[in-house]
Symmetry: C2
Subunit: 344 residues, 2 copies
């Protein structure tokens, strides 16, 4: 606050002030400040000195208005607290910075209405482009509109929009995972998913059903638990699934937050993994190899998504005019110790 006025903002120096102090025109000052066009060395020197003396730094908002856009890219993850998105946010940040762009993150908290508002905000900010993990695939006119106005890359969840996207083979990954559980003798396999509003959840659920059917097992709705992807909600869902009379022998969780919640819940219920319950999770995580047992997972190539998203975005900014590119990453089943063979 210091000597600031009550709004905390003493008037900032502008090009005009700098020009006046340096005794040149605003045009010359601007040229010297941004080093373009012709400026006499002497004039340039005076301008630099004046700018220094006044603590001048450019007003990006004005520049942006004049030049068209802010050197910003927006990222709208489903939930910034989810390590999956946090990792991607970090990677996007690094990749963007290397190209002189800054990142603005606005998390949708998996709320479609909030996402709509955020995307509108970001668009109104006139930024260069956006990377979005759509919270829903129900009503995406706001994304369609955004795609028409700026570069847009969808990650994690694909939609039928005219823009690039990066996804992971959710269906295949889930099918492989559940197939493995079945191969180990499990038949009552519970799942926790985020609900049919999310494409990823639907795809993983489809993979789960496919694997079951391939083995001649009829899907049982009572084995399908629903929970938003947080540790807390997953704890509740797990308790519900495993409190009934006919306990499932295995659990397939749809992401790492859920896996953590499930592990915590099973422990609190006195159920041992994998003796009492086998656990397999989509999404690898830090401590998956430290827990006892280590957790068997379907790993996604998290480390590659952010950089690729930025690459795709920048391609578009540079004028690439190609039909929508849809990149699909494969998943990898990593066998560890949380799945036991079921002796029938």
């Amino acid at each position: 606050m210091g000597e600031a006025d009550e709004q905390g903002a003493p008037r900032r120096a502008t090009v005009k002030d700098v020009a006046a102090l340096a005794g040149v025109s605003r045009a010359t000052a601007a040229r010297a400040l941004n080093s373009y066009g012709y400026v006499g060395e002497e004039a340039a020197e005076k301008v630099r000195a004046a700018a220094e003396a006044l603590g001048y730094h450019g007003n990006r908002v004005a520049q942006a208005l004049r030049q068209g856009q802010l050197p910003l890219v927006g990222f709208v993850p489903g939930d910034i607290q989810n390590p999956f998105f946090a990792r991607i946010a970090h990677d996007i940040d690094v990749a963007l910075r290397a190209r002189g762009l800054s990142l603005i993150i606005a998390s949708s908290e998996e709320d479609p209405a909030q996402e709509r508002a955020l995307v509108g905000n970001l668009q109104a900010l006139n930024l260069r482009g956006m990377i979005v993990a759509p919270a829903s695939d129900a009503d995406n006119r706001h994304l369609a509109r955004a795609a028409a106005e700026m570069a847009l890359v969808l990650i994690d969840r694909d939609l039928d929009l005219a823009c690039d996207s990066i996804t992971v083979d959710n269906r295949g990954g889930a099918r492989e995972a559940v197939g493995w559980l079945i191969a180990q003798g499990h038949r009552r396999i519970a799942v926790i998913h985020e609900g049919p509003g999310l494409v990823t959840a639907r795809q993983r659920l489809a993979g789960y059903h496919e694997a079951l059917r391939a083995a001649g097992i009829a899907p049982d709705p009572s084995l399908e638990g629903l929970a938003p992807s947080t540790v807390e909600h997953a704890i509740d869902a797990t308790i519900r699934l495993f409190s009934g009379p006919q306990r499932p022998s295995a659990l397939f969780t749809f992401d790492s937050q859920m896996t953590k919640g499930a592990l915590l819940a099973l422990r609190s219920m006195g159920l041992a993994v994998p003796q009492d319950v086998s656990v397999l999770g989509f999404d690898d995580f830090d401590l998956a190899t430290f827990t006892d047992p280590q957790i068997t997972v379907v790993a996604q190539p998290v480390g590659q998504i952010g950089a690729l998203a930025v690459q795709m975005l920048v391609d578009r900014l540079q004028g690439l005019d190609a039909p929508p590119r849809r990149h699909l990453f494969p998943t990898r089943l990593i066998l560890r110790g949380s799945v036991a063979r079921k002796s029938v």
Copy 2:
């Protein structure tokens, strides 16, 4: 894309277009669009219809230039991937949104130079305020400058600047933790810290030293490992600390990422926790109670920091003119199973 020109941006409708279509002046259109001042119902209706037809949405950049500032607040965490900061980012986001402000996150990656650049960028964006976890306390003229121009709240790491701050009792927490290890009979207590460039690290180190001295134990530099706060670096540091001939009997890590790394490393070295090595970490984390053993930690009130930071910031935006407020949260030692009594 779509019918866009090669920059991906068909010209957006402006107030002027809307006004023209509605057959009114730009002033009237603006008034109707933002519902302020007097506008005839009939005119307003025509404007709204025109706006709808053109898919008009305001240009925030222009508004900001005219009105002074963007309704944005910046957050500069040390590392967005660290769950501690991710959690705070999430809480800030929620608190901000409730007040009609949006969050822009730009992670410093704990690099002071990068932080300087980012803070400059954010300032040039003319936003309302910033919440920063300073990456260093060496040269903070950029933060002093920012504090003079806009509301600034420091979190996690305090500096001697004229602005509000929120910190945690690092010294006290570390002293209590190490005191507990000593009370359990440990004398060779290793630490992993982020280096003296970080205030938090210095304070926790001071607490560690105090506890040692209080027990008449001379600090041993060879027990003090250094590592940036990531799982990977902590693994290396742990291996270095525990490969020597005279193995420490306990390890105190300075944050949850390090704790995870240490656990992974000790396991890979075949050292059992707590039988071979006792582990105590600063910062609680999700799976601390699922690992075997559960991990004893010094917990910080993470859940309160984000909301308080926003509150402090908003107070300033509303004109609060008080001397810098420095909020210090206490820590809490949570005893779990990763520390064993050392039989001498």
